[in-house]
Amino acid sequence: MNQAEVYQQLNEIFKENLDLDEVNLTASTTADDIEGWDSLAHIGLIAAIEQQFGIRFVMKEIVGLHNVGEMVELILSKLNA
């Protein structure tokens, strides 16, 4: 899977979980930029991402994320591991 495909699937997950019509994630997107992406919604997003890509994050990885770009890199590193 390449980076663009990861972004595309993430957009779908965010739309579904946050009940939004349109989401366009970029590397610099953070929770402040997306309506409804609060700490509670974040939990559901992480669970959905794990399920969608068939991966598990460890706690250290989750707390270390600062923006969507870092999340995409993390997903890709796990998929290619």
């Binding site: 997950i13 579904e16 979980n17 009940d19 700490s39 509670l40 939990i43 559901g44 992480i46 669970a47 959905a48 399920q51 460890v58 706690m59 989750i62 707390v63």
Partner: protein
Amino acid sequence: MTEPLLEQLNYPTDAALLMRKKNTVRKMLLASQEKRIKKKIAVLGGSTTHDICVMLDLFLLYHGIEVDFYECEYNQYYEEIMFNNEALKAFKPDIVWFHTSFRNIKNVPDIHDTPEEVAKKLSGECYRFSQMWEKCFQELECTVIQNNFEYPFYRLLGNKDASDYRGLTNFITRLNTAFADFAAQHNNFYLNDLNYIAADYGLSAWHDLSAWYLYKYCCKIEAIPYLAQSVARIVKSLYGKNKKGFVLDLDNTLWGGVVGDDGVQNLEIGSETATAQAFQEFQTYLKAHLGLGILLNVNSKNEEVNALAGLNHPEGVLKPEDMIVIKANWNPKSQNMSEIAHELNLLPESLVFVDDNPAEREIVKTQIPNACVAAVSQPENYIREIDRAGYFEVTAFSKDDLARTEMYKANAQRVKAEQSFGNYDDYLRSLEMKAEIKPFSAVYMQRIAQLTNKSNQFNLTTKRYAQSEIEAVAENSEYICLYGKLIDKFGDNGVVSVLIGHQQEKNIHIDLFLMSCRVLKRGMEQAMMDELVKKAKERGIRSIYGYYYQTAKNAMVAHLYQDFGFELVKTENADTIWCLNIEKYQNLQSIIKVED
């Protein structure tokens, strides 16, 4: 429900899918035109509750219950109810659910403790919790649901943790026993068996510690739907949404093989083979439901003589006399299902259809709106698949539950007797009916509350009452509260009718009037009205107002007040208000002897 996504709310549940699709699922549920009952639930948590409420909401909507939620601040379950409960009081919850876990045990045993010190810690915990529950009963007059405690993810003493008084596992077992004792002694208190849910999920998987450290959830995120489903089952049971019976296929459902082809002697049932044992245990499981008042019926493509021969198999556990209705013929199973429901005076969706054949399940699903079809796979899984679906979640036992099969059988005898009389009144007289129609008394409160929550057809206002509310109106002198019990020569039907009216000046307004359909057309509804009028006259009442609120299920009583001589006062959509001038009233029935 035929929509695959909504079936996730039944069993089996794909928890991760449900969590992801929560918004879609909620919209689908809200789009249903089915009339929903509205309730308020306060969730007071010792850990994060957000997604738990989101899931609970979905499961309850699925059962036709629309809930307004109140959540306390994180881990403020104790403070909120004990000290700072103005907002909670204003919310007026019907139910308070204390969502606590082993993380919320404050006084855990220490390895240096003496047995006395641990006993003190135990009673301290019990006292802390029971104070909260009592506060709910006294100040909120609500029902309480309390989690018991799940076992921890580590055992300091290893296996000895279970047996030594200083072990946390041992302490939790004792606490859970104390909570269960409280539940056994209180009617408006129900335990949510978190300990079982966690064990069933798998304790190691349940305790996802990153979910605790990161988000303060007491369980793995993907386990949340199972937790919510468990609570939803208690709630739906309390509000009369349990199923009432089974409709069972025979060949390869109750025994291995096809009786018509293989012959009775070749059926697999008993203790000889693995398959035979699976079917025997399944039959034993089904038979145990008789004690809960769950009705068993047969819907099989068979010649009747073969069906009965199969049920009379010497190794079989279920016998023909355990069944209320046996339909063994070549009609479509959906048609048999409707006929069985009709003969039992129940709605088809209140019966659980069990059939090993997916094609038969499909026809019942597609032909009967909202049909409840068990998703069974292989005989070794039948019990678990039916058990985990929680169709018959028990919240209250009444004596009537234990005797229900007998009552329905007596009913079948009455139907036979009816056919041998030319004149219906002669038939009614032959039943030698006696009724007890009296103000609510303590022994019947549970049954009365149960009836208000599960009667749908003969129910004029479909107002639901918790037992605490029933007890409150019974004590209030502004209310006339009557229960009706009917006995005839075939047996005691138990409490079958309930009427609640409140007095305003010289008028009585009927808030609730319901009757169990199994005594329809016996004169009982007329006897209830006669008694109400008698009681009203004693109070010097002039008029009685009756209200009919239409639902999808109560069309049979749309004209009841008209038939009783009331005059129409007001029509609003399909709802009607009726008035009776009691001076003109003449008693409606004389066949049932009403005890003074």
